[in-house]
């Protein structure tokens, strides 16, 4: 081995486990001996044996280096291993008795551990439930979600077309894939049986599936009846048969056992119910209310770009191999459809697709609570240390009388383990409360919230965490027992060194961890403020919205759709409470809006796929209702009929890219490979379309009459905005009422206010901010308690010394500043280390940050100042008391 092998590096690291003086005296030489020995071992071909011996040495050496041999009892007095084991119950009993005798100490210690273990248990339940709990599907790791996306921008995803499925099936089945299935999200209305008399009930989250869906996903046994299969599919038709979720079965059908096999009317069609699904099955994610069959019709335009596809890999196929097959299939797809030039198909793991989006947030939280546990450990260690130094005389006497070190150790350990277990028990209560907060706050964006449970694996975690922290925490005072110079303790020399230095280090550690957490919370809070302050390009005040997906059968023709939406908007505008109304194919901030990116060409150029813009069809009145500003030219109005000149509005982002900032009004551009040309008549403002953190994308708007669409979102702006959120809700209700008045069999699919949409967009940052802020507050509190405890302990041990100083003429405020300085120095060191820690840990938060750098100096400085200010405040309490020590009393006591 040449100089500096990896083992030697680890050996150098292990030197930090030795006492400082020892390391200074021998460290260099030990490293040299280590290197010589390693060289010889390698030469003799005994390297592995050497490494094992080195590992043992790294554990034994630091203990040996602390052992003071004069007190080693002779062999016949050494207790046997059995004797040591039998004392454990006794030690536990003793520990309990000591804890009962010091209720205040026990209460504080248990509370500290409860916070640490409780927070960790709750977050563990979420991490385990969402990321690790096995999915109730057959071999879910063989399931792949296929996505169609721009080759160079994997995040730019488009749905599949019904026509693609044939190509996918032919290209994949038998070539690494066992089966392929597709589905799309829909919502339907339930009429008759289940719903009340004459009412229609809207059912969201409906999965329209093909015949192989349940078989390909490997669904578990249904609760009642059977799953859907090929028998239930009629090409070109939807809703032949359906499976209900358990919750829908309960809420709408009162768990009617005769339901399976009978028929129900959805969207005006008679549907046979063939089975009931157990709650929480991820098909393809938990929370689906209804599964219905649909035979895809390749000519049905409303399905284009909306299908999601899953595949099941053959047992021996890897994802990498599957990717190869997918590349060939992608080629085939682009050959049949010019629009897909530059697109690729990729496979991601099913589970990854289901929960992958939640992983960063959960991991950031797991990191945060791990810091809290460390902090709680440091806090408890510091408390125990204070006790040990108070019992120093007692321990020293017992050691001098021949008490074996293992006995003393095991007593210390027993106490800290009992404390940690009690803390863990109390922590479960906290975990329960946090668990509730987690599942309700995270419901909108955490997948599998139903799988977040406090059950056996989670309880096992809490127990393991308690025992492990108990042992680790117990180690510090134990090492301290052996580090102390026994002879001088017995002689009554009060050294104010060792224990207080260790406590200082522990307190600094607590401050560092609290500061790191507080910086994280600060960054997230700033992000939340920045996100809330974003001008999204539209106004939400008083605006209500409703999704209206017209029935294919009665409104299948373009002309019927024009008539329906025209009449609906007329009726809506005639209502006194509504100021403006319009409809769009894509509402900003709406999580279920379809992204519709189209390649376009400006005059004299070819479509190359590199330039794409978001396509939306809107009715007159939409821009006004949404408050999207018209910057130049004119808005769309009644002139823009089906037969008139094809026109469009473009947004500023599109002007920047397509016309390089020149005035586009009067110019034309084309889509669909030059098959449709439009004249630009106006320029409108940019939108943050997908949410406040989105950048402005190129967009163009075409008149609804020239491009009808069956799935629209209708928006209405209230006439009286002073009513606040009630105004918006009223506007949303107005849409539903107008729709019901127009055609009772065509109700709206869901209605909501734009303000609620905007608030939802902030759910995840709000969730992270709230939790991190709570963690930071708790940890600052613990750190403050740590500083207080350290100073109080030091003052108690130094009363004589302080009294002497006062007797010799020191002023009370000198003593105060002496004490405060001790607290502030520890806090300052901790704050500096904490800032470094925060800088390293910020990498976990980067994906969530918006409008602020991970290294934002203001947040760092403010947090550091808070920490130091807190330390001054909390140091003043014991300091002022120390300043009032009466020298005569203290000095006469000894």
């Amino acid at each position: 081995m040449s100089r500096g092998s990896w083992a030697e590096f680890l050996f150098r690291m292990s030197l930090w486990l030795y006492p400082i003086a020892f390391r200074r005296a021998h460290g260099e030489e030990m490293t040299k001996v280590f290197r010589d020995m390693e060289q010889r071992a390698v030469a003799r071909g005994q390297h592995n044996r050497f490494l094992l011996a080195a590992l043992r040495d790294a554990l034994v050496g630091p203990v040996e280096a602390r052992r003071q041999p004069i007190y080693e009892p002779p062999a016949h007095l050494q207790p046997t291993r059995e004797a040591l084991m039998t004392t454990i119950p006794h030690d536990l009993k003793l520990a309990c008795r000591r804890l009962v005798r010091n209720p205040l100490f026990t209460l504080i210690a248990v509370f500290t551990m409860a916070v640490g273990i409780g927070a960790n248990t709750a977050i563990f339940s979420a991490v385990y439930g969402v990321l690790f709990r096995p999915l109730p599907l057959d071999e879910p790791d063989r399931l792949a979600a296929l996505s169609l996306h721009r080759a160079e921008v994997p995040s730019d995803v488009m749905g599949f077309f019904p026509a693609h499925l044939e190509i996918l099936r032919e290209g994949l089945e038998g070539r690494g894939f066992e089966g392929v299935t597709s589905f799309l999200w829909e919502s339907v209305t339930l009429e008759g049986v289940g719903a009340g008399e004459g009412d229609a009930v809207e059912i969201g989250t409906v999965a329209m599936v093909d015949g192989s869906f349940f078989q390909v996903l490997g669904a578990p046994e249904p609760l009642r009846g059977r799953w859907l299969d090929e028998r239930d599919v009629v090409p070109g038709h939807r809703g032949q048969a359906a499976v209900l979720s358990e919750s829908l079965w309960s809420t709408q059908f009162g768990r009617d056992e005769s339901l399976v096999g009978s028929t129900v009317v959805f969207d005006g069609h008679t549907t046979t119910i063939v089975g009931i699904a157990p709650e929480g099955v991820p098909l393809p994610r938990p929370g689906v209310s209804l599964w219905m069959t649909q035979g895809w019709d390749p000519l049905d335009r409303s399905l284009w770009g909306r299908l999601a596809v899953f595949g099941r890999l053959m047992p021996e196929t890897t994802f990498a191999q599957a990717q190869g097959t997918l590349a060939t299939v992608a080629d085939e797809l682009t050959k049949t459809n010019r629009r897909l030039t530059g697109y690729a198909v990729s496979a991601t793991g099913f589970e990854d697709g289901l929960v992958g989006s939640a992983r960063p947030a959960l991991m950031a939280l797991a990191g945060g609570v791990a810091l809290i546990l460390l902090l709680a450990c440091a806090n408890l260690a510091s408390l125990l240390l204070a006790r040990v130094s108070r019992q120093r005389q007692d321990v020293a006497t017992r050691r001098a009388l021949g008490a074996h070190w293992r006995h003393l150790t095991s007593q210390q350990m027993a106490e800290s383990v009992v404390l940690a277990l009690l803390g863990g028990g109390a922590g479960l209560g906290l975990a329960l409360a946090l668990h509730r907060a987690l599942t309700s706050l995270g419901a909108s964006f955490l997948p599998r919230t139903g799988d977040i449970r406090l059950d056996l694996p989670v309880l096992a975690f809490a127990l393991a965490a308690s025992v492990a922290t108990g042992l680790v925490v117990g180690l510090i005072p134990t090492l301290h027992i052996f580090a102390h110079d026994l002879a001088s303790t017995l002689r009554g020399v009060r050294s104010v060194g060792g224990g207080h230095r260790t406590r200082g280090v522990l307190v600094a550690t607590q401050v560092a961890l609290a500061v790191a957490l507080a910086v994280g919370a600060g960054l997230m809070a700033r992000t939340l403020l920045e996100l809330a302050a974003v001008e999204p390009g539209f106004r939400t005040e008083g605006v209500g919205a409703a999704r209206v997906y017209v029935d294919d059968e009665r409104y299948g023709e373009d002309a019927q759709q024009r008539l329906y939406f025209g009449a609906l908007l007329d009726q809506l505008r005639s209502r006194p409470g509504v100021a403006q109304a319009g409809a769009t194919s894509g509402l900003p901030f709406d999580p279920i809006t379809i992204d519709y990116d189209l390649p376009y060409a400006t005059r004299g150029q070819e479509e190359d796929g590199a330039r794409q813009a978001q396509f939306r069809t809107i009715t007159p009145g939409y821009l006004e209702a949404m408050g999207i500003p018209l910057l130049r030219g004119r808005a769309l109005d009644s002139r823009d009929r089906e037969t008139g000149e094809r026109v469009a509005l473009v947004n500023e982002a599109m002007v920047r890219i397509a016309w390089e900032g020149e005035d586009p009004i009067g110019d034309t551009f084309s889509i669909y490979g030059g098959n449709r040309t439009m004249r630009v008549v106006g320029v409108v403002g940019d939108l943050a379309f997908r949410g406040p953190a989105d950048v402005a994308r190129p967009e163009f708007y075409v008149p609804y009459d020239q491009h009808p669409f069956s799935a629209m979102t209708v928006v209405a702006k209230a006439a009286h905005l002073e009513d606040g959120s009630a105004a918006a809700a009223g506007a949303a209700r107005a849409i539903s009422e107008s729709a019901l008045g127009l055609d009772p069999r065509q109700p709206v699919h869901s209605s909501f206010t734009l303000a609620s949409l905007q608030s939802q967009a902030l759910d995840q940052p709000r969730f992270l901010t709230l939790l991190l802020a709570a963690f930071a507050a708790v940890s600052l509190l613990l750190a403050a308690a740590g500083i207080y405890g350290m100073l109080a302990g030091w003052i108690a041990d130094s009363r004589r010394d302080l009294g002497l100083r006062l007797a010799l003429g020191a002023k009370g405020r000198d003593i105060v500043s002496l004490v405060v300085r001790r607290g502030v120095v520890a806090a300052f060191v901790g704050a500096v280390v904490g800032l470094v820690l925060a800088r390293l840990g910020a990498a976990y938060l980067v994906p969530f940050l918006f409008g602020i750098e991970a290294g934002d100096p203001t947040v760092h400085v403010v947090v550091a100042l808070i920490a130091v200010a807190l330390s001054v405040g909390v140091s003043l309490l014991p300091a002022v008391r120390a300043g009032r020590i009466e020298p005569s009393r203290v000095l006469s006591m000894d």
Partner: protein, 117 residues
């Protein structure tokens, strides 16, 4: 100071130093040879023992290398102090008495090694 029983490894360190001052690596090698390969000691343990024996005044580090200034300055050599020689002798005697007793009861045919605790 030395009324206590020496531990086996400590005794072996003293034995290794009986002839001449040695540095750490030489001691480890010498101990291995003396014990016919049965006593292998690693740096952490070795220096903990050296520190302890130094604290008790049984050995002391040499101010400079016995091989002159050409030797690696990081190598510190240790030698026995007079107290160390006495401790070594008394431990040797104790072991000898023990082996004599074993031999008188015909329990020992070869020279024993592991008599110390």
């Amino acid at each position: 100071m030395t009324s206590r029983t020496l531990k086996s490894r400590e005794f072996h360190v003293l034995v290794a130093l009986a002839d001449e001052p040695l540095h750490g690596y030489q001691m480890a090698q010498r101990m291995e040879e003396d014990s016919e390969g049965r006593m292998r000691i690693m740096p952490g343990n070795l220096y903990a023992i050296l520190q302890r024996l130094t604290d008790e005044g049984l050995i002391q580090p040499l101010a400079r290398s016995p091989r002159g200034p050409s030797d690696d300055s990081r190598r510190r050599y240790f030698e026995l102090t007079p107290a160390g020689r006495r401790a070594l002798a008394s431990e040797g005697l104790r072991l000898e008495r023990l082996s004599a007793r074993l031999r008188s009861r015909r329990l020992l045919d070869l020279d024993g090694e592991e008599a110390a605790p």
